[in-house]
Subunit: 213 residues, 2 copies
DNA sequence: TTGCAATTCAAACAGATGTTTGATACACTT
DNA sequence: AAGTGTATCAAACATCTGTTTGAATTGCAA
């Protein structure tokens, strides 16, 4: 695209290798348009590389998708919220951290990509489910059991986990819809904190009520 | 496709007009694959009509999508749950009816189509938001206010509405994911009833706690 | 420099997609 | 029977898709 590709550092952006730039822009485009909607040409345009690079460095669109999916950055979500000692505070921390990642994912395409997987099964769904989502469910189930004091059946615990997950993910999943219904609503840091607090209080009351406390 | 298109009533299926068959199969395919993923040829194949019929009876893919979106069958959701008198029972009825539509939508592609819209903005999102989702939010907000006895700010009410919506829609949105994490889980009528009851109790406790009751 | 392998590139390829076309069949009126 | 407007169809069209190709460029060692 540059008329004279002399060796100038220029805008100092895109310093990484072609492969890394491809992964970065793939996360963006896949997150925005899904696996099917994303196009190789758009990914390469943003990465400023030739379309053939996808098949050279990876082996096609699907392999690039898998490469864009490394889950480590999201896995510390559990440890992050485990500073507190009692289960109630740890639940509050988990909801807060989860919500922040969900909503800030609007800027960081990485978690956005994972959240989209949650709704739209793709070839990578199985590994995401077992490696990322299932541990979150187990962790949350432990917190719910502790808060309920062992007074809930496994089914009830599972539904409580779903309730907490559902409340949080709704803020991301229905963002476009809610933006139209509540145009004035803006999810800045303060709004996210307030939302996390309310979800926590709401959920604690729900769990305790179900546990008969 | 038939080698000899003589005038036989044959399998007596697809008795409707070409236009109606197109809308029916469009609902199926759009619900399964989304707006972008769905193809005219697949829609026409299932409707057993020529591909040109889409541009003859409608004006292209997008117009067919709009036509497949008539919202009336879902709008009686509010009235359906308004038999009870007190707000608590009406909330219970709403959650139950909403959940049934969400989960049975797996078989009826019509609501499946709407739910997909909620996650994946398409050209039809604006009309869906204002004509279908917004009234549901308003109705639910009224119930929450009544239950809380006017002791909640507008923001808190909105977040309670989001919590109820979020819990319910999670069961549909994350169905594929949860099927992998809990392979034994089956959403038959009994499981749906139990889930609706637990979401209701969970939410009532949350609303009351936030209202300071 | 020379040689060699890795990398990048423009161009082309093969297939799928939404749309259009022109012909044909049908139902109904005059 | 001739006319008329609707409906259907196979085929073609233009565009976009992921992928491949073969040449050009680069980086680096001998």
């Amino acid at each position: 695209m540059n008329p004279s590709p002399v060796n100038q550092p220029a805008h100092t952006e895109l310093p990484e290798s072609t492969r890394d730039r491809l992964i970065a822009s793939a996360r963006e485009v896949f997150a925005e348009s899904g696996f099917k909607g994303a196009t190789i040409r758009e990914i390469c345009r943003r990465a400023e590389v030739n379309v053939a690079a996808v098949n050279y460095h990876f082996n096609g669109k699907e392999a690039l998708f898998m490469a864009a999916l490394e889950l480590e950055p999201l896995e510390n979500l559990i440890g992050q919220a485990d500073a507190a000692t009692n289960a109630e505070d740890r639940l509050a921390g988990f909801i807060r951290e989860f919500l922040i990642r969900l909503m800030e994912g609007y800027c960081t395409p990485h978690s956005q990509l994972i959240m989209r997987e949650l709704l739209e099964p793709s070839p990578a769904l199985d590994s995401i489910a077992s490696e990322f989502i299932a541990p979150l469910h187990e962790h949350l189930a432990g917190l719910v059991r502790e808060i309920a004091g062992g007074r809930l059946t496994d089914d009830a615990v599972r539904r409580c986990v779903f309730s907490v997950f559902g409340q949080c993910s709704y803020y991301r999943n229905s963002r476009e819809m809610n933006r139209r219904i509540y145009p004035a609503l803006d999810y800045d840091a303060a709004e996210i904190e307030a939302t996390a607090l309310q979800i926590t209080e709401f959920s604690l009351a729900g769990i305790r009520k179900l546990a008969g406390k």
